[in-house]
C-alpha cells in the first residue's frame, strides 16, 4: 500500500505551518511529527512530505540526513544513547558504554535482534553537571553509575520507561 500522510498528521501540520510566514519552515517540526508516528522517517514519508510542503525531494532528504535525531531506519523500542563528550567521558562514560555493549550484545549503532534496544553514543547532551548522562528515547538519566544502569535496564525489560531527572 503506498504511503500516505494521515489526516491526523495533516491537521497537526496545518497548525504547525501556521506559526511561520513560509510553510517550508515547518519542515523540521514536521519531520519530528513523522518520526513520532512511526519511530523513523521512511523514504516514502520524505516523498509525501516533500509534496505536502511543495519542496523538492532532495531538500527533504538533505535536511533529514543532516540532523542526527532523525532515524532513517526503525530504531528499537528503547534507543539508548550514552553521552561520550568530555565531562561524561571523565565521569566514566566509556565504562557505561562498554557495559551496555556486553549486556545487550550489540555494538554502537546496532539494534538487538528482538528489536527492543538500539545502542548509540551521543555528543554533549547539555547536562554535564550530573555526568555521566544517558538518554533513553526522550528521557534523560543523569549521574549514572553501573548500578543505576543495571536498574534502568531492569525497568526497561519490564517495559517501564519512567520519567528521568524531571
Amino acid at each position: 500500500m503506498p504511503f500516505k500522510l494521515s489526516d491526523e498528521f495533516k491537521e497537526t501540520a496545518g497548525h504547525i505551518c501556521a506559526r511561520y510566514p513560509r510553510r517550508d519552515a515547518a519542515l523540521i517540526p514536521l519531520l519530528h511529527e513523522l518520526q513520532k508516528e512511526k519511530g523513523y522517517v521512511a523514504e516514502e514519508a520524505m516523498d509525501e512530505l516533500a509534496k505536502f510542503l511543495e519542496l523538492p525531494y532532495t531538500r527533504v532528504k538533505a535536511v533529514t540526513t543532516f540532523y542526527t535525531m532523525f532515524n532513517r531506519a526503525p530504531a528499537g523500542k528503547y534507543h539508548i544513547q550514552v553521552c561520550r563528550n568530555i565531562s561524561c567521558h571523565m565521569a566514566g562514560a566509556p565504562d557505561l558504554l562498554g557495559h551496555l555493549r556486553t549486556r545487550l550484545s550489540i555494538e554502537e549503532g546496532e539494534t538487538t535482534s528482538d528489536g527492543i534496544y538500539t545502542l548509540s553514543s551521543a555528543e554533549c547532551l547539555g547536562a554535564c553537571g550530573t555526568a555521566p548522562v544517558i538518554q533513553v528515547n526522550e528521557e534523560y538519566f543523569e549521574s549514572m553509575t553501573l548500578e543505576k544502569l543495571d536498574a534502568l535496564l531492569e525497568d526497561l525489560k519490564r517495559g517501564r520507561l519512567r520519567a528521568g531527572a524531571l
Binding site: 523538492p56 532532495t58 532528504k61 540526513t65 543532516f66
Partner: protein, 491 residues
C-alpha cells in the same frame, strides 16, 4: 561608484560589485572553485581568500562587497599561505585518480596545485575518506563522489538554472556527498553543463569517457546547429576526429549548451554517415550519381522543383536557388520558412528546431520563389516530376510529395535521415567540415568553421550543386561559399 585599490592598482566599480569582480576588471585573477558568474554566491571553497587592509581576517573575494577606499592584496604572504593551505585541505581526501581521471589536463585541483602549492602531502593515503565512485547518474553523466570537493556548483545549477533540483549535499562533515533521489536519473536537458561546471573529475561526461586526453585536443570556435538558438560553441578535435562540443560563453546568446546540442557532433562519424551517394538505395560514387540525377532533372526540366532548407547554410541555400533559377530555369522553388522562433524553456532550447529559418529570409529576399503553402500545393498537384531538397526540409512536404509520387533527389548527411523512397541521395559536407553562414533567432549572423576534414568524396553542398548543374549543361560558377552568397543581403 566605490573606488578601491587592488595590488596597488586603482579601480572604480559600480556599487554592489564584489572584490572578485573588481579584480577581474583589472585583469587580476583570483583563484576560485565555488564561484561562478552565473550562479549564486556560495563562499564555501575558501580558495579566493584575499587580504584587506584593516581587516584582521582574510576575506573571500567572491562575497565581499567592494567598498570605497579599500586596499586589497591578492598576492601577499598571508594570501599565498592561505591558498596553499586551503589546497592542502582539498587534497587530503582527494583520491589519487589522475591517471584514470578524464579531468586531467583541465582540472582545477591540478592547475591550482601547480600554480599555488607544489608541496608534498602530509596526509597518509590510507586515511583518505572513501566514497562511491563510478555512478552513472544520467544518460550523459558519471559521478565520482570521492573526487568531489563539495563546491556545490552542481547543486546550484540544478536549483537555479534548470530549476529541477535533482542534486543536494546529503549528511554533513566529511561524510557529506552529492546525491540524487534513488531511482531518478539526472536527465534534465542541460545535464552535461555539470561536467563543464565541475572543477574536478566528480562529474564527467559518459560520452567523452576515456576517449582521449584533453591536452591532445584542438578547439575550433563554431556554432551549434541543433536549433534556432545557434549557441556559440567550441568543437574539440584531434587528428580529424571530433570528440566533444563545449559552450563558448557570450553575452548575447548562451553561457551553457544543451545536451541535444552537445550530441550534434555525432552525425559526422555516425555509422550511417554517407560518403557515397545512393541511387535507388544502392551505393554509388558521387560522380555517376550526379550524372544520373542530372539526367533525371533534364528528363522533365519544367517539371523540376527545388526546396531550400532551414537546416542548410545560407551558402548552400543560395546555391540551390541558383540551380533553380539559372540551372533549371524554373520558378518552381521555395525558400519560405516561417517557424515561430524564441526560447521555449526559459533557458536555451528554441521552439524552432531548424538552425537557419532566419537566414533563409535573406535568400528569399534575393531569389523570391513560392510561398511554402503554394509550393506544397504545387507538389501535390501532380505537375512536378522531380524535387531537389535536403532530407529534413523534405519532411515538411513529405505528404504532398509522396502522394504525387514525386521523384526525389535528396541531400542527406546520414542514410537514416533520407527517405527510403528517394531516387538519389547525395552526400554533402556537414558544417563541422565546412564553413556555413547561419542566422539565429536573435537575427545574429554567425558562421560555422571547419574543425575536421570531410571524407574523400564528400564536398560542400554548394560544390555538389555546382557540379550537378554543370552535368545538366549549366555553368553556375560557384567556386566557393562567398561566390554562392553573391547578391544575398542579410540586412
Amino acid at each position: 561608484m566605490p573606488k578601491l585599490t587592488i595590488d596597488g592598482k586603482s579601480v572604480e566599480v559600480p556599487a554592489g560589485r564584489t572584490l572578485l569582480e573588481a579584480a577581474q576588471l583589472l585583469g587580476v585573477y583570483i583563484p576560485r572553485y565555488c564561484y561562478h558568474p552565473k550562479l549564486s554566491i556560495s563562499g564555501n571553497c575558501r580558495m579566493c581568500l584575499v587580504e584587506v587592509e584593516k581587516s584582521p581576517k582574510l576575506v573571500t573575494a567572491c562575497s565581499t562587497e567592494a567598498a570605497e577606499g579599500m586596499t586589497v592584496l591578492t598576492t601577499s604572504e598571508r594570501v599565498i599561505k592561505a591558498r596553499r593551505e586551503v589546497l592542502e585541505f582539498l587534497l587530503i581526501n582527494h583520491p589519487l585518480d589522475c591517471p584514470v581521471c578524464d579531468q586531467a589536463g583541465e582540472c582545477g585541483l591540478q592547475d591550482y596545485y601547480m600554480d599555488y602549492s607544489r608541496q608534498k602531502s602530509r596526509f597518509p593515503a590510507a586515511d583518505k575518506v572513501q566514497r562511491q565512485k563510478r555512478r552513472a547518474v544520467g544518460p550523459y553523466l558519471m559521478l565520482d563522489n570521492e573526487r568531489c570537493i563539495l563546491c556545490t556548483r552542481c547543486v546550484r545549477f540544478c536549483a537555479e538554472v534548470t530549476k529541477t533540483s535533482e542534486l543536494e549535499v546529503m549528511e554533513r562533515a566529511d561524510h557529506s556527498f552529492i546525491d540524487l533521489k534513488e531511482g531518478k536519473a539526472l536527465d534534465n536537458e542541460y545535464s552535461l553543463n555539470l561536467a563543464d561546471l565541475c572543477p574536478v573529475g566528480a562529474f564527467t561526461s559518459r560520452d567523452f569517457r576515456f576517449k582521449t586526453r584533453v591536452w591532445f585536443l584542438k578547439k575550433t570556435p563554431t556554432i551549434c546547429l541543433g536549433c534556432a538558438t545557434g549557441c556559440e560553441i567550441y568543437a574539440q578535435h584531434n587528428e580529424n576526429t571530433l570528440y566533444r562540443l563545449l559552450p563558448r560563453p557570450n553575452a548575447e546568446t548562451n553561457t551553457w549548451l544543451c545536451d541535444h546540442g552537445r550530441m550534434t557532433y555525432k552525425t559526422v562519424r555516425a555509422g550511417d554517415r554517407l560518403n557515397k551517394a545512393l541511387i535507388r538505395r544502392g551505393l554509388i560514387d558521387l560522380e555517376p550519381a550526379l550524372r544520373e540525377a542530372a539526367t533525371r532533372l533534364d528528363e522533365f526540366k519544367d517539371a523540376a522543383a527545388v526546396l531550400g532548407s532551414p537546416w542548410l547554410s545560407a551558402e548552400d541555400n543560395a546555391a540551390l536557388g541558383r540551380l533553380a533559377k539559372d540551372g533549371l530555369k524554373t520558378d518552381h522553388y521555395c525558400f519560405d520558412f516561417s517557424a515561430e522562433q524564441g526560447i521555449k524553456d526559459g533557458i536555451l532550447i528554441n521552439k524552432d528546431s531548424a538552425p537557419n529559418t532566419a537566414g533563409l529570409k535573406a535568400v528569399k529576399s534575393a531569389y523570391g520563389g513560392l510561398a511554402l503553402e503554394d509550393f506544397t500545393t504545387l507538389l501535390a498537384g501532380g505537375k512536378i516530376k522531380t524535387l531537389v531538397t535536403e532530407a529534413n526540409a523534405y519532411g515538411l512536404v513529405k505528404a504532398a510529395a509522396a502522394a504525387a509520387r514525386v521523384r526525389l533527389i535528396i541531400f542527406a548527411l546520414n542514410r537514416g535521415e533520407a527517405p527510403a523512397t528517394a531516387h538519389a541521395v547525395l552526400p554533402y559536407a556537414s558544417y563541422f567540415e565546412t564553413a556555413g553562414t547561419f542566422v539565429n533567432y536573435q537575427g545574429l549572423r554567425r558562421a560555422t568553421a571547419a574543425a575536421v576534414e570531410p571524407q574523400p568524396g564528400v564536398w560542400p553542398l554548394w560544390a555538389v550543386v555546382n557540379k550537378l548543374a554543370s552535368y545538366s549543361g549549366a555553368e553556375l560558377h560557384i567556386d566557393c561559399g562567398e561566390a554562392a552568397l553573391e547578391g544575398i543581403n542579410f540586412k
